[in-house]
Symmetry: C2
Subunit: 342 residues, 2 copies
DNA sequence: TTTAGCACTCGACGGATAAGAGTGCTAATC
DNA sequence: GATTAGCACTCTTATCCGTCGAGTGCTAAA
């Protein structure tokens, strides 16, 4: 569809614009050396590229900037895979080599490192709520009527909740209840615990415990995790402020308010495909980041995708570098996790 | 020191400036009605007040704005105690009435409510690290070589850490170790756990366990809480962006970067006095908030101050309202907590 | 097909001017 | 003696206007 020369020029424009954040003129392209044509020729091609929708002009007599379509073409066809610098590889290796007992801690570390390396904002969805399953429930007595319920997941995460034990329950009743829970709920995804509890298990508990309604309610309180909020980590939220597109405080506020929320990100990540995915500008469906791009990568455990890590930057972001980093990282992380849980 | 008239004028200027964020002129004061003098008279007084250091002039022929000293005088001598609106009282009562199993959750709720009510940023130091003591340690086996260590504090907070148990330890050795820990560490402030472990307890464990070095190391990992980070909650961090003094992105970044850190706040809160404390501008010692004011209140349990809640706003903040809110809240919270833990 | 040349467009920058807000001082008034 | 009206003065802000430079689009020549 595009001639070789047009592709060179488009590539040069996107590159330059990513670096400078200013409209790119024909002269500066010509001077770069890698496109050996005069400004006039380049101007003609640029005019064509604009007609085709790959470029835009902020106003007559300004240079061109890439349109969303231009970025898309650039990402799909023109991008050389970024090569990581030694320092970057080193840093990532460092994080992944650290001995950490929980996946989440490691993920969080990686989020911070990535945001530092890229100077963009990183958003990480920890071990996927959708696929995390229950491994074990334990009840540890605290005092006369309270206990700590431990919810242990297959990803090695432990969550604790303080529960008040309904009056008049004998120790054996409690023990039996916990045994039932473990027998029936092990392997069940966290999100389904609640419905399973009410639909199947409540009645079974009823067979062994007299006043079981309140008990079931207590269990409900313990297992209905409020963790879904906490599984979303952000790194380098203020990095965006250094980008020239956020010189306006209004825009900053819109973005930061979005970063304070959980829902939009869950939705954005819900339909993330495996592997690297680049969503440019309005492809993101969330209005507040219509002039941003979101690059996501997934990591997996035992062949199953369990989490997503994303980098959010202006549409004018360094796609090559970020994709390279995410690719490298998601592979490494997957390898490590699988070795770990073998 | 100041005449009655000067006090009225100073008060009027501060009030107006807090509302408008613009230098206040003699004419607008005169027109307010509560100061029944002509602009000329007021001008003379303003000139005097400036000489005394209570007012400042951004430039000749602009109105006056309060200096730090002016705010200080206003807060100390001119401020009528703010009266809460019904809605505000209602909201606070609502939060405090909710049945929550952990102090921290409640504190966090309050932080959010307060930042919404004030439109400033709230910073809350949860149950004080300095005074929180250990109540109990429990070890729950997970699989062959791993276990969950539960650290239970006197404030009802439970923290869990996954530990890898050193090879070659018998069950009885582990049990004995836990017993020693409970016997010797109960009631010890969290911050002192580590030193106590190495100085007193390590040797005692050595008597019962052969290869005790690695075990002590593991215990260290479990008790050295990284929670100190998580005890600091922020609410409404983006509220500051709506304040006109933060129209400049640079300032926003400085502040937000500060809000990402923990240390400065710990230091700021470390020397918080009991009751309400107002620190204006440079009184804060942290440079990044030299044009902000921080109002803090403490709450207590069993007569002992256990936490601090602060509201951060521009020096031009609504002192009356915020002080009223904080006062009301800290009393209520203290009452509730004490009823709760009775 | 490519390029040199040139007229044209548009935003950025800087200086000049006017408007407006507010002061400080002086002299008149209470 | 305290208060106030009046007025000149200062400083900021907005606006206008001309200039400059970057960049384009078109035409004609190579």
């Amino acid at each position: 569809m595009l001639s070789e020369r047009q592709r060179m020029i488009l590539s040069a424009i996107v590159d330059d614009y990513i670096r400078s954040a200013e409209p790119v003129g024909s002269r500066s392209i010509s001077k770069r050396g890698d496109v050996g044509f005069s400004p006039a020729t380049i101007r003609n091609e640029m005019s064509d590229l604009e007609e085709l929708g790959f470029l835009e002009q902020p106003h007559t007599s300004a240079g061109r900037i890439p349109s969303h379509k231009g970025y898309r073409y650039y990402v799909d066809h023109l991008l050389g895979t970024g090569i990581l610098s030694n320092q970057e590889v080193h840093l990532l290796k460092g994080v992944l080599a650290e001995r950490i007992t929980e996946i989440e801690q490691m993920i969080q570390q990686v989020a911070i490192i990535l945001s530092n390396l890229t100077n963009y904002t990183s958003i990480v969805l920890g071990p996927e709520v959708f696929s995390t399953t229950l491994k074990q429930v334990q009840l540890v007595p605290l005092d006369d009527n309270r206990a700590v319920a431990l919810i242990i997941t297959n990803t090695g995460h432990v969550e604790n909740k303080i529960v008040t034990i309904p009056e008049g329950l004998s120790v054996s009743e409690i023990e039996r209840t916990v045994a039932i829970l473990n027998a029936r709920l092990t392997g069940v995804p966290l999100l389904q615990l609640k419905s399973k509890l009410y639909n199947e298990i409540a009645s079974e508990i009823g067979k062994h415990v007299s006043n079981y309604e309140e008990l079931v309610k207590t269990i409900d309180g313990a297992i209905s995790s409020d963790e879904s909020d906490q599984r979303l980590f952000f790194g380098g939220t203020t990095n965006m402020l250094t980008q020239p597109e956020f010189r306006d405080v209004e825009k900053v506020k819109t973005l930061l308010d979005l970063l304070d929320q959980t829902d939009p990100w869950m939705k954005l990540f819900a339909n993330a495909q495996d592997g690297i995915q680049v969503r440019i500008g309005t492809e993101n469906s969330v209005e507040a980041i219509n002039n941003c791009s979101l690059i996501t990568a997934t990591y997996s455990l035992q062949g199953k995708t369990i989490g997503t890590i994303g980098i959010l930057g202006p549409t004018r972001m360094e796609y090559g570098k970020v994709i390279g980093l995410l690719d490298h990282f998601s592979r490494d992380l997957t390898t490590i996790l699988n070795k770990w849980y073998k």
